[in-house]
Subunit: 259 residues, 2 copies
Amino acid sequence: MQSDAFQDVTAALARLGGQRVWSLLVSVFGDLAQARGEAIDGPVLSAIMSEMGIRPEATRVALHRLRNDGWIASEKSGRTSRHSLTALGRTESAAASPRIYGTPVEDADDWHMVLTENGDANMRAQMHTKGFVLVMPRLYIGAASATPPNDAMVLTGETVPDWLRAQITPQNLTADYEALAPILADIDERLPRSAGISPLQSAVLRCLIVHNWRRIALKHPRLPRILYPDNWAGTTCHVLVARLLDRFPRPHMSQITGP
Amino acid sequence: MQSDAFQDVTAALARLGGQRVWSLLVSVFGDLAQARGEAIDGPVLSAIMSEMGIRPEATRVALHRLRNDGWIASEKSGRTSRHSLTALGRTESAAASPRIYGTPVEDADDWHMVLTENGDANMRAQMHTKGFVLVMPRLYIGAASATPPNDAMVLTGETVPDWLRAQITPQNLTADYEALAPILADIDERLPRSAGISPLQSAVLRCLIVHNWRRIALKHPRLPRILYPDNWAGTTCHVLVARLLDRFPRPHMSQITGP
């Protein structure tokens, strides 16, 4: 029963699309072996990828690509390959981690708006990097923790009208969040405990959840929840992702053996 | 000496242009006979207009026009005409008075910005009427006493950058204020006391000051002084207008006789 549920939900996550194998590997290493000195042995990686339904040949090709990109390094230890993130891969993974793993509770509801003197592309890129969302040319909104540029005008307010929520919600990503949310809710309901989930299954669940969450969440700055509409699918996903990653802890690599 | 100074400054004010006679009459009645029941007798009006250098024929034509516009009513009392504002003229004069006679000290420095949901022409007109200045489409700034529309987003801030001051200052009117300011400063310097100024001269000074001030000031909403650049000519004019109108009080019509 537990096993059927696991098969169903991993299949549903895989069906969401956007599962390019090299990108999936980025999620796997980012989640399971991000710290300096951590690595994933070849057989463990094969077991994880195979459990996700990825063919060994596809994994080999993707590993090759990521080595060429300087993201992953592989070394032989006897007959076993060990794969790990390079300094570049670690840096980039670490940069994305706060957005991926930040829990909804860390979202203080304080926000501010920022009016900039000019509205050129440089400024827009700078503000996006700082975590601000464009409301209008030269006017941005962001968490109070996002630092405005020097000489910008900082504005705060008491209330947020619904029409503003509608304007700053990334409408183009709402459909993606709405596709992900029921699958996460299904995992939450059908796998209410980690008991009976093997370390390998836990690793696979985590990586598929992180992967499908990250490919949407990293496309827009995270604003305080109060700035999104009530019951917005993006918020629902965030709450469920945090809950499920907490429920299925990161296994130690040595615990993972083939299925 | 006093008399030379009076001639010089009234001539300087008259030279500023924008002295259409009907418009000058609107200033005269608005300043000297705005209250219900007040009127200006024909000979008194002739003395004032003549002192301003307006020919009797031009005054007659302008009075005729204002009667046709329903702004002024004239009645005969024996051989003397009495002219007064109509209800319309009184209402319109009263509507403009806070802007014309408001002293700079009444300008609390509190302000707010308002973001509206839509930026159509109706909204822009509504916001202008409420005393807001457009910063960008949908974004306005105004005194804290200006009431935002329902469902608009109200924003406040701690500091105002200079570039915003430059943006919201009515640049097209700055030259007009810069032309008026030295004349007002000259009056302030050369006529430091009301002693020696006749009631007729006081009436003429007031009307010319009000007239030249109103034709600029009524073209833009008044923002708190903190939102204008330091030493802006508009602020200089406002301070001087308030000081001079206080120095040369409104004479009673019965005090005024021909020169």
